[in-house]
Symmetry: C2
Subunit: 409 residues, 2 copies
């Protein structure tokens, strides 16, 4: 059985009219002879509206009931999409996370998929039915409803593609594909025909919203391509695939994250394991640290600076304040108004002078670099949030990304 | 374990503010030391809004996906109510129909409860948790979502009260209790302190909206009282209980149904089994017939008249039209603008002249009676819809129901 897994985002199914259009697209794929599994997000702003209702009831909604509440959003969209397909004369079945056999751990708010029991999915596909699956949700302990966290519907689609041995997984979205930069920031940003898994991971991890890194990780591990396509047109989109199949390009994109802050715990006497101690304390509070940097001052005391998403700033500051005394540090300083700009590309490590060119491009615009972090395929700079739009345009121009066309080899 | 089952209707949980008030009421009950199970309907107009979305996708939504869609309404309200109780510092758990062990047959749109697996409910109650259950929904074949049809949340509450051996089942609603007539039609209608199961069944079956007859049937069979109470005040409400515990009253109420029509198949040659033939044909199409009357004309031909709810008129007419030829009837005549007025009371059979008083009261207002049907505790007259408000006031006055106070003996 040749299985195609598709995912449709919330904008694509935002109204009954759009749902009918998505049904047409699914049926067009079905007519090519493949078995189709379509994963769907909640309609438009449904999730935000449900969250708003919860906050009117309590400022801190319990995780179990919040998962139960939010998953109604996808249950609504799969019901309607399945009705639309049946109304057009094809056979289809809508399945919740539980019915799809998506078994997760017991973390209600940010569950990991442990396995997919594909028996029921395969039965429906074997009968020639289109299978519509609720994204973002799973089940633990038999009947407990869990959610997969951010980008959950992408994760559902990739996990089903892996479990069903799909040849490809299509991610339909409200943009034309993956770009060299966010077109709202950089008007001459170019759509990439191809990008390597690793590069996409770094772009997604650095603020590009188009795909969630968990889905990319799954596709990379199981070796099937992800196809990011617009749901409103026949645009070719972007293929995310193995880097070895692509021509080498130094830089494929520049991306920014405007929602970060930095917190420094100052003048910590230097002892082994301090960074580990701080990281464990933050991990216990489920705070994700993007970056941790130790800088040695005179007198053998360190400043330890962490960079976190805005949502974690308050809790992270509280954790560091509590540790101040036991670490014999002098104090905690917090700057919530930072941004991160990153360049990503498989050629960064092998092409000399890439970092220098990036720093010079920023310097020419008088943009101060506060912190720098590098990996084999990414260089990230933390800067003042107010300069981030200038920064991304300067770096995009420096590497002439507006003219980039990545090809398969 | 002393268990109290409560049910809160859609108006009672219509906004986050009202949900917080319902939480207070539940906690007040909990403080008296009973174990509380609260069954909840969908918030306000949620069900109508979901139905409207479905109709924008297709005029005839498939039953399975419609059940999946509509049950999100109750899943939302139980999640929010459970959050509200936890926010007030008590332990609570929200359970969907599946999680509550409400096992039904496979009729997605109008399922019957086959049994309630109470193990999980009892475990939560034993831990001192308030259990919030989604009304109107059940599960068949392990994971298929079904709905219980009209009045489904009342049915859920009564079924749980029966399965858990609850001493009483409270039905919270947006009215003060059961009235001798609809107060919107009859301003001096009186609230009944008590009413017998059988009387309530007839009232509900004759158009009174306050309780669904299925819930009353369950309470009657298992012998626990139903308490219909306002959710917005501390009004005493109405106790629905065994007739033998109540003083005898000829008439307890007058009720109307404005949404009915009659269809006559004319001049059917008289043969045995014609009514049965017509009823079976209608039953196959899932059309509920309220009344069927055969009148013999001259020449040994019958007119067969059926009375149905408005929603069935079109389909019922089509069925009778199709049967016309095989029954050798002369034609089908349909009048969709009828109403039914009923009086209900355990004393009807034993009190002489009740029917005559009702007919005279209508005659004094020049209201024609089109069809009459009687049972031991009910007399129903089909009349012109335009006269129904006059009719109900005339009959209510005739029996001085505005002064009625039913007592327990």
């Amino acid at each position: 059985m040749n299985v195609l897994v598709q995912k449709y985002g919330g904008t694509s199914v935002g109204t009954p009219e759009r749902i009918l259009r998505v049904a047409d697209r699914i049926l067009a794929a079905r007519r090519t002879g493949v078995a189709v599994v379509s994963v769907v997000s909640a309609m438009g702003h449904t999730t935000d509206e449900l969250m708003e209702m919860a906050r009117k009831v309590t400022p801190n909604p319990p995780r179990r009931e919040l998962a139960m509440l939010l998953t109604t959003g996808e249950q609504i969209s799969i019901s309607l999409l399945c009705m639309a397909i049946q109304a057009k004369g094809a056979r289809a079945v809508a399945l919740t996370g539980l019915q799809s056999g998506i078994i997760t751990d017991t973390n209600y708010a940010d569950a990991r998929i442990k396995r997919v029991r594909t028996q029921r999915l395969r039965q429906h596909l074997a009968k020639g039915e289109v299978v519509i699956v609720a994204g973002y949700q799973g089940v633990s302990n038999g009947t407990e409803i869990t959610t997969l966290g951010r980008g959950g519907s992408d994760t559902t689609a990739a996990a089903l593609a892996a479990a069903l041995g799909a040849r490809t997984c299509e991610i339909y979205t409200d943009v034309e594909g993956v770009y060299t930069a966010d077109p709202r920031q950089v008007p001459n940003a170019a759509r990439l025909d191809y990008i390597a898994y690793e590069e996409m991971l770094e772009l997604a991890g650095s603020g590009a919203q188009v795909m969630h890194p968990r889905a990319v990780e799954i596709a990379m591990r199981f070796g099937f391509p992800l196809l990011v396509k617009p749901s409103y047109s026949d645009g070719a989109g972007t293929v995310i695939t193995e880097g070895s199949k692509l021509e080498s390009v130094a830089i494929t994109g520049v991306t920014t994250d405007k929602d970060i802050g930095k917190i420094a715990i100052q003048k910590v006497p230097d002892r082994p394991g301090i960074a580990a101690k701080i990281l464990s304390a933050l991990a216990r509070e489920r705070i994700h640290v993007r970056l941790i940097i130790q800088s040695v001052n005179e007198g053998n005391v360190n400043d330890v600076t962490i960079v976190v998403k805005r949502e974690f700033i308050e809790r992270a500051s509280a954790v560091l304040e509590r540790m101040c005394r036991s670490l014999k540090a002098s104090g905690v300083v917090c700057d919530p108004n930072m941004a991160e700009i990153s360049i990503v590309g498989s050629g960064i490590a092998s092409t000399s002078g890439v970092a220098a060119r990036m720093f010079k491009a920023l310097a020419r615009k008088n943009i101060n670099i506060d912190l720098i972090s590098t990996s084999t395929i990414r260089i990230a700079c933390v800067i003042d949030r107010r300069r981030v739009d200038d920064a991304v345009r300067a770096v995009h121009d420096e590497f002439k990304l507006g003219r980039l066309k990545r090809r398969a080899v």
